[in-house]
């Protein structure tokens, strides 16, 4: 019996998973057009490597970013590049930026995929495997989209001994990982073996919520059909947000990730099961990241999980799920606790999109009441913060105290917001305070930079002044030496001059 640690806080939510997980996984039909936003983590856009009018094949690289933080982007099906233009991005603001738009031609012709035969990747070393993962464009599919090749490269100083696979889908409504584990458990287990080889660890813990029995059964069956030694399936309690990386690490290993550190600092690397399956497909089949499972649920006629090509417009997926129910009013990307609102459904699925949730009107909450200091928020916080105090300080613009009470550690999970009887929008206060703090940091950084430059300029000016004075004095001396044969009274005159000019 695997002993679990407890992580304090968290809330019990209605899971709403049966709606989408009971339906079988279907493959989504190819859309007419695919859209690929070019924005990257660094802030600069990726460079397209295809031109307008060019025909591209499925799996072909269409854009590249700078460095290992920006893996390449691939076309998910064959077609012609219609344009590279500004399109609305997958963001509540509705802002638009450069995207590559491809008209699919329906033939789905692919570039040759070159994978290694099953489990023969032992001939490849960790460096080579990481390079292939990067080239396949794999980023974290759990939502944060962090480049996978970097995550599995902890470096020399950090000793990693455990790989954790995150199959604990703690947000309500989302069941894409459940669907993946039920249908393709061997991909997840195979990906785990690859990661264990890259990281050179012997132990892998696959955290999965205890209300996913079919997924657990499918995994156990797949475990028996191959050599998966070292991998252990560990059910975790159904409490939100046990699936958060830091919380899952604590629950499975008892270790806490240091506040300004990463999981590798405590010897753990955590990967989403979807990312792991994508790594398997990349190494074994040679297939880059061009598809993923997306849950489409809520107020749609047929909620289900779909295997979707990246770049598919959300409206197409809704159509395949029978369209919206009449009372729909909100469209969320992600889960109801941390997902963000979308202004329209004519937006593309990107690599990190895991769930499309259609909800009805928000229940009216009426007047937001004052904080009654009940302390429920602190009981619910999985990080052990005092949201009540953070709220008071954020409201009073007392940002130093907010930082002192560890506002920076807030993971914005929404637990405090959910339990607050006064319906105070706590997460919004914290996000506003964090962005104010970040803006002030940037200002201070610029001011420091300007000050350093100013002081250097002052020092330079001083030096120049001294040098000029020095050279003038030397010239005078030289001149006086030349004039050294002059009579005494002129010497007296000339010797007075250097003092005057000094």
């Amino acid at each position: 019996m695997f002993r679990l640690w407890s992580c304090n806080g968290g809330v019990h939510l209605d899971t709403h998973k049966e709606e989408s997980s009971q339906a079988p996984l279907r493959t989504a039909r190819l859309p007419r057009e695919l859209v690929y936003p070019l924005q990257t983590r660094g802030g600069l856009n990726a460079e397209p490597v295809v031109a307008v009018g060019e025909r591209v094949l499925k799996g072909q690289v269409i854009a590249r970013g700078e460095g290992p933080m920006n893996p390449p982007l691939h076309a998910a099906t064959s077609g012609v590049v219609r344009s590279i233009e500004a399109r609305p991005l997958l963001h509540p603001s509705g802002l638009a930026d450069l995207c590559i738009v491809i008209d699919a031609d329906g033939q789905d012709e692919a570039v040759p995929f070159e994978g290694v035969a099953d489990y023969d990747y032992a001939q490849l070393g960790p460096e080579e495997l990481r390079a292939r993962i990067h080239e396949a464009g794999i980023v974290g599919l759990g939502g944060a989209a962090f480049p996978a090749s970097i995550k599995v490269n902890p470096g020399e100083r950090r000793k990693v001994d455990t790989l954790i696979l995150n199959g604990a889908e703690c947000e309500p409504y989302i069941s894409c990982d459940d669907s993946l584990l039920r249908n393709f458990p061997e991909q997840v287990l195979g990906g785990a073996r690859i990661l264990m080889r890259i990281l050179q660890v012997e132990r892998c813990l696959l955290g999965i919520e205890s209300d996913m029995p079919q997924a657990i059964a499918a995994l156990e069956q797949a475990m028996g059909q191959g050599d998966h030694g070292g991998i252990e399936i560990v059910p975790v309690p159904v409490i939100y947000p046990t699936g958060g990386e830091k919380q899952l690490i604590k629950v499975l290993t008892g270790r806490e990730v240091p506040a300004d550190g990463i999981p590798a600092d405590v010897g753990v690397i955590c990967q989403n099961v979807g990312t792991t399956a994508a790594i398997y497909k990349a190494i074994v089949f040679g297939e880059p990241l061009i598809s993923r499972i997306v849950t489409v649920t809520g107020l749609v006629r047929q909620p289900q999980n779909l295997l979707v090509r990246i770049g598919t417009p959300i409206a197409d997926l809704i159509e395949q799920c029978g369209g919206y129910a009449p009372t729909v009013q909100r469209l969320i990307l992600g889960g109801p606790m941390m997902g963000f609102s979308l202004p329209s459904d004519d937006l593309p699925i990107v690599k990190s999109a895991n769930c499309i949730l259609a909800l009805g009107p928000q229940e009216p909450i009426g007047q937001i009441m004052p904080c009654i200091r009940c302390g429920e928020c602190a009981s619910a916080c999985p990080v052990g913060l005092l949201p009540q105090q953070l709220y008071w300080y954020a409201r009073a613009d007392n940002l130093e105290r907010a930082v002192d009470y560890r506002l920076g550690d807030c993971i914005e999970c929404g637990c405090c917001d959910y339990v607050c009887p006064s319906h105070i929008p706590l997460v919004q206060y914290f996000r506003a305070a964090k962005s104010t703090i970040a803006a002030k940091e940037r200002e201070r950084h610029k001011a420091d930079h300007a000050r350093i430059r100013f002081e250097a300029r002052q020092a330079r000016k001083e030096r120049e002044k001294l040098e000029r004075a020095e050279s003038a004095r030397r010239k005078k001396e030289a001149l006086s030496k030349v004039m050294g044969t002059q009579p005494a009274k002129e010497k007296g005159q000339t010797s007075a001059d250097p003092e005057q000019t000094a």
Binding site: N183, R330, D345, M369, P370, C371, A378, L386
Partner: protein
């Protein structure tokens, strides 16, 4: 393509790629909001109502032991509280309906009313409630901003200003031959010039204090008819039913366990220590637990969220300190019961207690 077939085969449907026709649902606009997008199930009104419901068993016990005076006081207090709250909100330019409907003024009124003797004159109840709502709550900023428990501020003010009225309790039903009827009580409350000396009696706590002061021993005092198995007759039932109400609130998650546990534990252990030192001079711990306003204080007054400590360890310290202070005031202070003063003193200390008892944050050593 073998790779694609391998990927697709698992999905159960080997389809040739089909193109989707143009759909009419494109470009539908949605309303946007910040997360979380789930509605919370609780509200301030719901919490206050649960507390009011939990008070009912204790109030009924008081009703049965001391007559309908407690109900009359409750009605007077409720009316005064709601009018005072509405008037203050209007004066302060705040919306009236949401704050009246959060039942916090009602709760303050009920807590004050059950703390008062059943024959308290109507103006005493009204004045106390007015003071509690207007001065102790609204003038500090209303719900959530008051540093002191409003009901206890009202009670303390009345106790200090009108000590005779505030210590004139009726004998419990177990002892009295009969109680004044409902109309008689109404008359007594609304015409307080009427002499009530013949009717009233001191509480068990008061009796113990005076008798000990006269030099009698505990066994002699407790053999009097006034005392039942645990504590004063009648009073032990009132405390018992407030305890039941409090346990129900714990079960429902309306209050946290730290404050009642600290309170009762602190009082019990302190009483135990002194009882063991000299059983003849100090009452038993159980006597203290089931006398006066102990259970009401432990579960309903000290747990007022706005004025109590909020961190888990802070709450424990807060509760224990109240328990110890109550014992000190009861044994060596000037008043028979110390719940109100102990709570008010700890309200003062609550922010400091919280500051020094912050819970550990994930990822930080301490």
């Amino acid at each position: 393509m073998p790779a694609t077939a391998a990927v697709m085969a698992g999905s159960g449907r080997a389809e040739a790629a089909l193109l989707l026709p143009e759909t009419a649902t494109r470009n539908m606009r949605f309303s946007t909001a910040a997360p979380p997008h789930l509605a919370s199930r609780t509200s301030v009104a719901r919490i206050m109502l649960q507390v009011l419901v939990a008070l009912i068993p204790g109030v009924i016990a008081q009703l049965m032991q001391f007559g309908p005076g407690v109900l009359i006081n409750t009605v007077i207090a409720l009316i005064t509280a709601e009018i005072a709250e509405a008037a203050m909100l209007a004066l302060r330019g705040r919306p009236i309906a949401p704050f009246l409907l959060d039942y916090s003024a009602a709760l303050t009124a009920v807590l004050l009313a059950v703390s008062l003797p059943p024959l308290a004159p109507w103006w005493l109840t009204a004045f106390g409630t007015l003071f509690a709502i207007v001065i102790a709550k609204q003038l500090y900023g209303g719900l959530g901003y008051n540093p002191f428990n409003p009901a206890m501020v009202g009670y303390a003010m009345l106790l200090i200003s009108f000590p005779r009225y505030m210590t004139s309790w009726l004998p419990p039903l177990d002892l009295a031959a009969s109680h004044p009827g409902f109309t008689e009580m109404l008359a007594l409350i609304f015409q307080p010039e009427t002499a009530i000396d013949g009717l009233t009696q001191a509480t068990p706590l008061d009796t113990v204090k005076t008798q000990l002061g006269l030099g009698k021993g505990m066994d002699e005092i407790q053999s009097a008819n006034l005392f039942g198995a645990l504590a004063g007759k009648g009073w032990q039932w009132v405390n018992f039913w407030y305890l039941m109400g409090g346990l129900w609130m714990l079960h429902q998650g309306v209050i946290a366990w730290q404050i009642p546990a600290g309170f009762l534990g602190g009082l019990f252990l302190t009483a135990m220590v002194f009882f063991l030192i000299d059983p003849n001079f100090y009452p038993t711990p159980l006597f203290h637990l089931f006398s006066g306003a102990t259970m009401l204080g432990a579960f309903f007054i000290a747990t007022d969220p706005v004025t109590a400590a909020t961190t888990p360890r802070g709450r424990l310290i807060y509760g224990v300190a109240i328990g110890i202070l109550i014992y000190v005031i009861r044994s060596w202070g000037g008043y028979p019961d110390g719940v109100a003063f102990a709570v008010l003193l700890l309200n003062l200390a609550a922010p400091t207690i919280d500051h020094y008892n912050r819970p550990r944050v994930y990822g930080h050593p301490q």
